[in-house]
């Protein structure tokens, strides 16, 4: 049954991908890429990767589509006709595809217990998580503790991306005349039904984001997914009430504080571990009981990730919105 469903989903993915490539209208392409993300989230889910599926659904199908629509507001909707050596491009793509297909022949079968990926450190993680960290969701244990360095790196990738977008898109204060954007500040105020329903939903979306944030030890979830969900809720609020009202609720400086504070919190937890006599990002020394220390460390680190992700996504959204209102 899973195989049939998987083949069905992968066929749909292929159809959607071709649709994205062929779409001349960029709006259609953005919508199709949202659908693509939702489908690939379903594929991740039937592969039992619930954490990744949640991330893909929240980021790919939710926030990314909104941000791409924000970018579309700044450029034209029509794709410029392609120029240049198209045959060459086709040949390169075809060759790469053939190489990738050829490479898959050497790949172990899906879920093969003898595959290298299941023989390396994964058995150790599965065996030792219960003793060392004692959280039911091994994914969170790996992500936040065993491979805390990697996640710190990912967090700084997001942090840097946020700074980059601010550099490129942010409107200087004097161009704004010290004021927040006025265009679109009406939002959807005159559309009663979306407004009422949206207002009703925003608190629940943010609440669900907080649940995903703090439930990450026990089920699928964590800082990345929660950040995307909370940002989605607040973007919905901004769309309903308008930019100005949204920035009054969560001021730009608060967003900057979230971005920097989250990265600082993560690094700070690592340095606190060093000061208490452990290694960088060694949470076991944070409390007298190593397992309790791991719990505390994971909680704080995930909080840092959530803060930075929320801040960066909202800042990117507001950067697009401000740019659109200055034009």
């Amino acid at each position: 049954m899973t195989t049939v469903f998987g083949i069905f989903l992968l066929t749909l993915l292929l159809v959607t991908a071709i649709g994205i490539v062929r779409a001349k209208d960029l709006f259609v392409a953005v919508m199709l890429s949202g659908i693509y993300s939702l489908q690939i989230a379903a594929v991740f889910f039937i592969l039992d990767a619930a954490d990744v599926a949640l991330t893909e659904a929240a980021v790919g199908a939710g926030v990314a589509a909104v941000l791409m629509l924000g970018a579309l507001a700044l450029v034209t909707r029509e794709e410029r006709p392609a120029t240049g050596p198209r045959r060459l491009a086709l040949a390169v793509v075809a060759l790469t595809a053939l190489l990738v297909v050829y490479a898959t022949f050497d790949q172990p079968r899906l879920g093969d217990p003898g595959a290298p990926v299941h023989q390396h450190v994964a058995p150790w993680y599965l065996a030792e998580t219960a003793r060392l960290i004692d959280v039911p969701n091994v994914v969170t244990a790996i992500l936040a503790s065993f491979r805390g360095y990697d996640t710190l790196g990912e967090l700084f990738v997001i942090f840097t991306a946020g700074i980059g977008v601010m550099f490129v898109l942010a409107v200087p204060r004097d161009a704004r005349n010290g004021e927040e954007p006025s265009i679109d500040s009406a939002g959807l105020r005159h559309h009663l039904i979306p407004r009422v329903v949206g207002r009703l939903l925003v608190p629940f979306i943010v609440l669900f984001g907080l649940y995903v944030q703090f439930h990450g030890d026990y089920g699928p979830g964590g800082g990345f997914q929660a950040g995307a969900l909370i940002a989605t809720g607040l973007i919905l609020h901004a769309l309903i009430e308008g930019e100005r009202a949204a920035l009054r609720v969560v001021h730009r400086n608060v967003l900057l504080g979230l971005i920097a504070g989250g990265a600082l919190l993560y690094t700070g937890v690592g340095i606190a571990g060093m000061l208490l006599g452990g290694r960088f990002l060694d949470y076991s020394v944070l409390r007298a009981d190593p397992v309790a220390g791991q719990h505390l460390g994971i909680l704080l680190v995930e909080l840092g990730v959530g803060m930075t992700v929320t801040g960066v996504l909202l800042t990117i959204f507001h950067a697009f919105a401000a740019r659109a209102s200055v034009r």
Binding site: H191, I193, P194, V197, G198, L200, L201, F204
Partner: protein
């Protein structure tokens, strides 16, 4: 008891599936945007909600029931709103219903 629950959820699944199927068919067959939105809206609301209700009857009473019920309430609120927002946006963008167009010509004549 379980027989009653099973048959009730079976009926709900079948009716919901039928609504989703005819909804998909309608999106393909209907002539213009507004008429296409009607089957699309039915797929989103009636079809999905009936299938979810069937799932509710299958789930053991507990956390899963609450989660399914929450999704059901969420869909009850969002799906009609999305349909409304779509129709509203089309109206504002100046999409004219199929039947309305010739009538205007009649009035002009």
């Amino acid at each position: 008891m379980s027989l009653v629950l099973d048959s009730a959820s079976f009926v709900l699944f079948v009716i919901g599936g039928a609504f989703i199927f005819t909804g998909g068919l309608g999106v393909l067959r209907m002539p213009d945007l507004y008429t296409r939105m009607h089957p699309a809206g039915i797929t989103d609301t009636t079809g999905t909600i009936l299938v979810l209700a069937g799932c509710l009857l299958q789930a053991d009473l507990g956390l899963v029931t609450v989660k399914l019920a929450a999704i059901l309430v969420f869909l009850l609120l969002t799906a009609p709103t999305a349909a409304y927002a779509l129709a509203n946006a089309a109206r504002l963008a100046g999409v004219v219903p199929l039947r309305a167009a010739p009538r205007r010509e009649d009035a002009a004549r």
